[in-house]
């Protein structure tokens, strides 16, 4: 398992960020801190997919007019890029709706801590 840390550090970083995001979402009692954790979780998954799309000695997936058409091994894989574009934008939409809910909760209960909100709701 040592070669993972040496030659594929992207997966180790993905695991660290994923677990960090989940830990913050589970443990933290402040609502905005939970959303920070959710954002870190989403971007770590994007990191994972982009790592799968990397090819050695390849260039960006834009076919330049100067050269002749290179074989597909010379371009980075465009399909995970497309999926991750969708993921980023959907992630920020989710963030916007979550922040609207946080503001509505603050307007009602005047605090951002989860346990105090639950107390006041009883």
């Amino acid at each position: 398992m040592a070669d993972i840390i040496l030659y594929r550090p992207h997966f180790v970083a993905f695991i660290i960020l994923f677990l960090l995001g989940m830990y913050i979402m589970v443990v933290s009692l402040n609502l905005v801190k939970k959303l920070i954790g959710m954002y870190i979780l989403q971007t770590s998954i994007i990191l994972f997919f982009i790592t799968l799309a990397v090819k050695k000695d390849s260039t960006i997936p834009i076919i330049l007019p100067s050269a002749t058409a290179l074989p597909p091994e010379a371009y980075a894989n465009p399909l995970p890029h497309v999926l991750m574009l969708t993921a980023i934008v959907v992630g920020v939409s989710t963030l916007g709706v979550s922040l609207a809910m946080v503001i509505a909760l603050y307007r009602e209960y005047n605090t951002l801590e989860e346990d105090k909100i639950l107390e006041k709701m009883q």
Binding site: G37, T43, V54, K56, P61, E73, P78, P80, V82, V90
Partner: protein
Amino acid sequence: MTLFDDYLLLLLAVVTALGAVFVRDLFSGVLTLAAYSFFLALLWAGLGAVDVAFTEAVVGAGLSTLFFLVALFLTSHQEEVRKQLQVRMMAIGSLGILGFLLLYGSVDLPVVGDPKSLPSKHVSSHYLRHSLEETDTRNVVTAVLADYRGFDTLGETTVIFTAGLACWMLLRKRDDSAT
């Protein structure tokens, strides 16, 4: 982009993510999150994902930081310190098991940079070969996003519109209580 550059940017991303979550003041946390987004955008641009890097820099580091800051302006921005040892121990334990399982499973993942790995076969090579002649577009990511996978993009645009609608409905002033 050598492995050393990857190491450096990954280390910076992890350090800024740790900094974003382990501060008390939420303003500092959100701005460190913007720095984290920028480091990730640099990493993706280095790995060859230029469209994703552009979108992350604009949408992730720009728009999400803006929304966070507006939300923090209107609410409080100090987090209270709480001791909840039992929850933390259980979280660390279960997430440790999950982390070990993920590490164990990542041994079988393809080597980073292998041009013959499984995600690069089949459909993806077809897109790279034929997108210029079929759609007259040099940016293969745009061609795939808008033409080959246009249905997903339609769904995504609907999701964005629905999110805007939901935000508006959640936060409008109730003029009359009947609606």
